[in-house]
């Protein structure tokens, strides 16, 4: 039976839901001229939720509602970062939304609802919570992608996202039903205890395959990446940034809960060694394919959002390399990678948002030509972001890659680490091309790319991009925090 303690454990989520409903009502009663209030309230709501997560963090891992909801160190870190990244997105998105007359209230409330979905997904302790958290997140995202109703590209992206997302959810649900059939439980901890002694190991393997297909879709790992480029390009940039950053933390959490908590890790009693090796191998294949397809196809892209989409696919490859290790060391490296990617990608799309203005999207690489002459500071910020994505030392992204590759070597998969390193070198090419266009190309006649004059955007974006440099030197405490979460 649920009791008061359960509700206290869920306090950040409950608070966020109530706040989202209040914002929704407030939006209905505000005059169009006053809607800017929603923006500031939205940011405050997210920051307070992040504070609630840290403040109420129990010293030990606790569960609520009969194991349906887990609040542990992993959940704390991922929740804090997804809330912070979403707050960053709110800051970056405002001028873009205002210029395109995208409804303010709906964007903020749907994004907060999606964030609630992310939080439930991160804390999921049972197959039902995983599925429902995912649905809450994706349903809000479909609507967000279609929010720019006058753009045919947006609607097309939304339909593609919806159909493929439904397929992924169906596949995930099918896999879950098989796992339930084999283990007679929905609870991930109980499943973990039962996988070793199930009467139908084949049924379990099939369930595992279907669940990994679902996870692959949500992460955007090849060969389940088809929706990523179209959705990234078609969605309004203010939504692409959300799909490209905060949602990756949720996808990592989902993979971790289903695979590590549910199916078992290396050296953890109660699980089945056979099953662990099976999922390790499948994830390794996904990782190699993602690295290859993501990096190779990104080379020929001319659209910046599409380029970042393919770069996401390759980054998910690195994240999966961390998971392959299947030990706390690998998980902490993968989580560190997910956080570094979310922060970097938020800054990358943030710069695109800041350079866009009414009637001009700034999504072609050629639009950045000669940015250094027009706005040296933004060119420098973009340089930091691109170097971090490419993994150039001493930036944040480099240490993410380093830790992930190190975990692959420690797992005895030297070949995987070599593939990762080669892919990083290929990736360097297209990131450097963006830098070259900004610094060495002459600006095209007639285009006048200038950053938004909005002060909050400029300051927060600068802080975000400089944080990539600072964290490159002081990544130790963050990684130690990640490691502590998995002990």
């Amino acid at each position: 039976m649920p009791n008061v303690n359960d509700i206290l454990i869920l306090l950040p989520e409950i608070y966020l839901v109530v706040a989202a409903c209040v914002l929704l009502l407030l939006d209905a009663f505000l005059k169009p001229a006053q809607k800017g209030v929603i923006h500031w309230l939205g940011i405050i709501v997210l920051l307070v939720a992040a504070w609630l997560v840290i403040d109420g963090q129990p010293p030990q891992s606790v569960t609520a509602f009969g194991g349906m909801f887990i609040r542990d160190g992993v959940a704390e870190i991922l929740k804090v970062f997804s809330l912070l990244v979403t707050a960053l997105i709110f800051v970056y998105a405002r001028p873009y939304l205002r210029d395109r007359a995208i409804p303010f209230g709906e964007f903020y409330t749907l994004t907060i609802f999606a964030t609630v979905g992310i939080l439930f997904l991160i804390s999921a302790g049972s197959l039902v919570t995983v599925y429902l958290g995912l649905e809450l997140l994706t349903l809000s995202s479909y609507a967000l992608v279609a929010l720019n109703r006058d753009s045919p590209l947006s609607s097309e992206a939304a339909i593609k996202y919806f159909v493929l997302g439904a397929l992924a959810s169906g596949s995930l649900l099918y896999g879950m039903s098989m796992v339930y059939g084999a283990t007679h439980s929905l609870d991930l901890a109980t499943i973990h205890a039962a996988v070793g002694s199930t009467e139908w190991p084949q049924l379990l393997t099939f369930g595992l395959i279907f669940m990994i297909v679902g996870i692959g879709f949500k992460l955007g790992a090849a060969p389940f990446h088809m929706w990523i480029p179209d959705v990234y390009q078609g969605a309004p940039t203010s939504v692409t940034i959300f799909i490209g950053s905060a949602q990756k933390l949720a996808a990592f959490a989902m993979a971790y809960r289903l695979l590590a908590t549910g199916m078992g890790s290396v050296g953890v009693a109660g699980g089945s060694e056979v099953l662990v090796h099976q999922w390790q191998l499948m994830i390794a294949v996904l990782a190699v394919l993602s690295l290859a397809i993501g990096n190779l196809v990104a080379i020929v892209q001319t659209n910046l959002k599409r380029l970042l989409a393919y770069s996401t696919i390759s980054h998910m490859g690195y994240l999966l390399i961390g998971l392959v290790n299947a030990t706390p060391e690998g998980y902490s490296a993968a989580m560190f990678y997910a956080i570094s990617y979310a922060l970097t990608s938020a800054a990358a799309f943030g710069i695109i948002l800041a350079l866009a203005r009414a009637g001009f999207e700034c999504e072609e690489i050629d639009d950045l030509k000669g940015l250094n002459q027009r706005s040296p500071w933004f060119a420098f910020l973009m340089l930091l972001v691109m170097f971090s994505l490419a993994g150039v030392p001493p930036l944040f992204g480099f240490y993410g890659k380093l830790l992930v590759l190190e975990s692959a070597i420690n797992a005895g998969m030297l070949w995987l680490a070599i593939v990762g390193a080669v892919a990083a070198i290929i990736g360097l090419y297209y990131y450097l091309r963006v830098v070259k266009v900004m610094y060495f190309d002459k600006p095209t006649e007639g285009t006048d790319v200038r950053p938004q004059s909005d002060l909050s955007v400029r300051w927060v974006l600068s802080l975000n991009a400089l944080a990539l440099l600072v964290l490159g030197f002081t990544w130790g405490p963050l990684f130690a925090w990640c490691q502590k979460a998995f002990v």
Binding site: V17, F65, E106, L132, L136, L139, S140, A143, A146, R149
Partner: protein, 217 residues
């Protein structure tokens, strides 16, 4: 003939009808027939659920899906003027590949898991002799309270999304405002104009109305 065998036969019967219905949904040319086949599929699935002793869910499926959702669906399909040829384009071309993939997957799964595994379990037994509805209600509000609430959230998001995507405030749309209509006064609408009395025309003939294109029946 024992009851187990009878149950099994019923299962295959209803399952078979459900599969055939589902196939008809995607192959029939007439979309109204396709919707009716979907009703058949739902109904057969409700029968399968009845066999699994999930009476409440079976009835809910019939009442909600067959009774309400599908009727609405039928309305929509009848109102839309869908060109069949366009929808069907490429269906035959991709059919062989789809069939091969589906058959290979089915064979693989049957070979790996085995048909016997499906029979090894009797379908879910009714816990502790309680009535189905009572058990479901109790489970929803105790064990599954959290998922139940998240599902409610998902429905809220559904409503918000539907309104956000369809509500448009276009310029120049004529709509009624009840409060303004009620508050209207006769003087706002009718203006009495004082003017001099017209003198009757003496010998002008009455104008002849030509039947135009619009007036013609």
């Amino acid at each position: 003939m024992n009851t187990d065998l009878l149950q099994l036969l019923c299962f295959y019967l209803f399952g078979g009808v459900a599969v055939i219905g589902a196939l008809m949904v995607i192959t029939l040319r007439n979309s109204v027939h396709a919707v009716l086949s979907l009703v058949l599929t739902f109904f057969s699935m409700a029968c399968v659920w009845l066999l699994a002793e999930a009476e409440f869910l079976a009835i809910a499926l019939v009442v909600v899906y067959v009774g309400a959702v599908m009727v609405l669906f039928l309305f929509v399909v009848m109102m839309l003027d869908i060109k069949q040829e366009v929808v069907r384009e490429g269906f035959i071309r991709y059919l062989p590949v789809g069939v091969v993939v589906a058959v290979v997957m089915l064979v693989e799964m049957l070979a790996m898991i085995g048909v016997r595994a499906m029979h090894a379990h009797t379908l879910g037994a009714n816990p502790a002799g309680a009535s189905n509805v009572a058990w479901l209600g109790k489970a929803l509000y105790t064990q599954f309270l959290l998922p139940f609430e998240i599902a409610a959230l998902i429905l809220t998001v559904g409503i918000v999304a539907a309104v956000a995507l369809t509500l448009r405030q276009r310029a120049g749309v004529r709509h009624q405002t009840a409060s303004q209509q009620v508050a209207v006064r006769a003087t706002d609408r009718v203006r009495v104009v004082k003017m001099a009395v017209e003198q009757p025309a003496s010998v002008l003939p009455a104008p002849v109305v030509e039947p135009t294109q619009e007036n013609a029946p």
